[in-house]
Assembly symmetry: C2
Homo-oligomer: 397 residues x 2
Amino acid sequence: MVISKNMESLVAGSSVIRKLFEEGLQMAQVVGKENVYDFSLGNPASPVPDEVKAAINDVLANNSEAYVHGYMKNAGFDETREAVANHLNKSFAMDYDKDDIIMTVGAAGAMNCIFRAMLNTDDEVIAFAPFFGEYKNYAANFGGKLVVVPASLPDFDLNLDELENKITEKTKCIIVNNPNNPSGRIYPKETIEKLNEIIVKAEEKVGHPIYVLCDEPYRELAYDNTPVPYIPSIIKNSIYIYSYSKTLSLPGERIGYLALSKEADGYSELIGALVVANRCLGYVNAPSLFQLVIGRCQDVGVDLDFYDRNRKLLYNKLTELGFEVVKPEGAFYLLVKSPFEDENEFVELGKKQHIIMVSTTTFGCPGYVRIAYCVDYKMIERSISAFERLAIECNIR
Amino acid sequence: MVISKNMESLVAGSSVIRKLFEEGLQMAQVVGKENVYDFSLGNPASPVPDEVKAAINDVLANNSEAYVHGYMKNAGFDETREAVANHLNKSFAMDYDKDDIIMTVGAAGAMNCIFRAMLNTDDEVIAFAPFFGEYKNYAANFGGKLVVVPASLPDFDLNLDELENKITEKTKCIIVNNPNNPSGRIYPKETIEKLNEIIVKAEEKVGHPIYVLCDEPYRELAYDNTPVPYIPSIIKNSIYIYSYSKTLSLPGERIGYLALSKEADGYSELIGALVVANRCLGYVNAPSLFQLVIGRCQDVGVDLDFYDRNRKLLYNKLTELGFEVVKPEGAFYLLVKSPFEDENEFVELGKKQHIIMVSTTTFGCPGYVRIAYCVDYKMIERSISAFERLAIECNIR
């Protein structure tokens, strides 16, 4: 074995989602791209907003290339961090300044920085199922352990009663992903307030801060005007994590940030360590051109209708066909309950119809499949007859 | 302490170079930018080549935005990896194909991926002094330990006799940075051949492969036609690491790659783990636009004259002034021997003249200062009178 011990299992269980995505590409080569209904990946199909394209041109045309493509502080360009702080202050009545913002290589980069800065070997990170499976690997990179609070079914709310039992002296942080990938659930203000009470009590008991990592790349993807509470305004020890991947359709560019309020316990120590982590994990800084671009696009919204149309079509059609569907309130994922005990059987039957769906086992919540509907509307239309055939194969029709 | 134990020392000894860079920015606000001679950072001042600018426009104009800014395989775009493989094959008579190339977030990202994939707790990574101080942190991120082979003085060659004593059963890899930062030394083919002999013998003894990490962001910066040997063509178990930061003046964009030859021991296992590491360290993929850009710029060279002019001016003037200067063969750094036993005294005296130089203590080789001459020629011209005053202050003139 030339690879490290804790890498072995990771490679063995390597991202099911990524594997399906690559399988979909292969399938497309055989049967044609238009005949594959790939719902595997959160790769947003909504066009990059015109404002972003204009900002790319503006940054390239009106700044010295040494500025645009050069090194800056490890935390990012001052102008970008100031724009982000202003945006958060305006949107959520917060009081950030630029020093509270660190530009990161997406939300995944932010989370790795946080774990690098915080975790000792065997420290614990709590996640609520269903959760993005990579959280486990992010913690494992630095010897940390992901502790899972089982899903609250069938409502997919935060399972707060179970949370209390999971907090130990080793607990360093708790991840809350709102709106949730993969359930599409939006946790309301009341739930977050209850979460706060539990954490404040627990912090007193364990004698150290427990940080809530607010993983919110889907914040703007909230349908039917459902409000998404801003957790750092409710829970003091919060680290807000954002990515432009989903809302501005820039996932490949790896641009996001984290924000830490000065009121959080251990602020100075933590923010210093986070900047160092950003450097020494080899990110060095978030990609420079896109830092400047998103600095100019703070008020650019997501094309919510693009995804809402998809959501409605899929939810209505799949329900009509007899599938049991969890209606998403936010994000761009939809869960379908597997008609079989082992949802992998359902995934395989789907593949026969060239429908690519992801089992929720890696999300810590078996029994469902995830459909990422961040795709072209026409692909969903084309897929309906395939879902019809799938419903027949599953004997639910 | 809210931060992890092994982060504490890291924050305490946080990058001296970065601190100086930020000190320089502050100094500029007080005395004016043109009166600060900041030689701290390897931030290349040579203009971004026109071919790169044309490639940015070409990629943006002639590809779908979903392709340019979207997710691709974690290892990178096939077209880019193919272009890189072809370039290496043509340049060094190698036999790479695209699957042997992983696009990374700069060379620092590549190195973190390698350490994540390879290192168990307490595994050892060997570096030859003087070395880029961040290597130590990259290894420490994953519980690894940097073992330093002391510098060979005054020639700054690889200290191969000492290497033999440092290899143990815990040794997983050896970093060779050629041309070297900070010494500017280029290790010739004969040295690499001798290194190969030592490694082959050691591998037999320890019973596992020892990989040479060829950290070569400065490869094209070789003056006076000094040849830079391509290590993977000499040492079988090599991982080649490259970054476009220095040669194409794109350090902020975070774009580089690693290449692993199929002939290397454990190839399949290792390349698989490296792709997973790229994903789970939160890089996910190297920034997408710049992957496509550099794929189109494989034959774009560095403006060598830009740096050679700087090298000559500084070397000649500082020598004239009585400083003891190590003449660089490559890269864009120059070492000056400190006139005082503690080179920090020299650094501080420099600051008084608004000259920002970096102590080599963090490079594992005290007694010198590093001058990064990847700056504007005019700044060097302006700095000469400040160096004159510094020479007087140091009593060497």
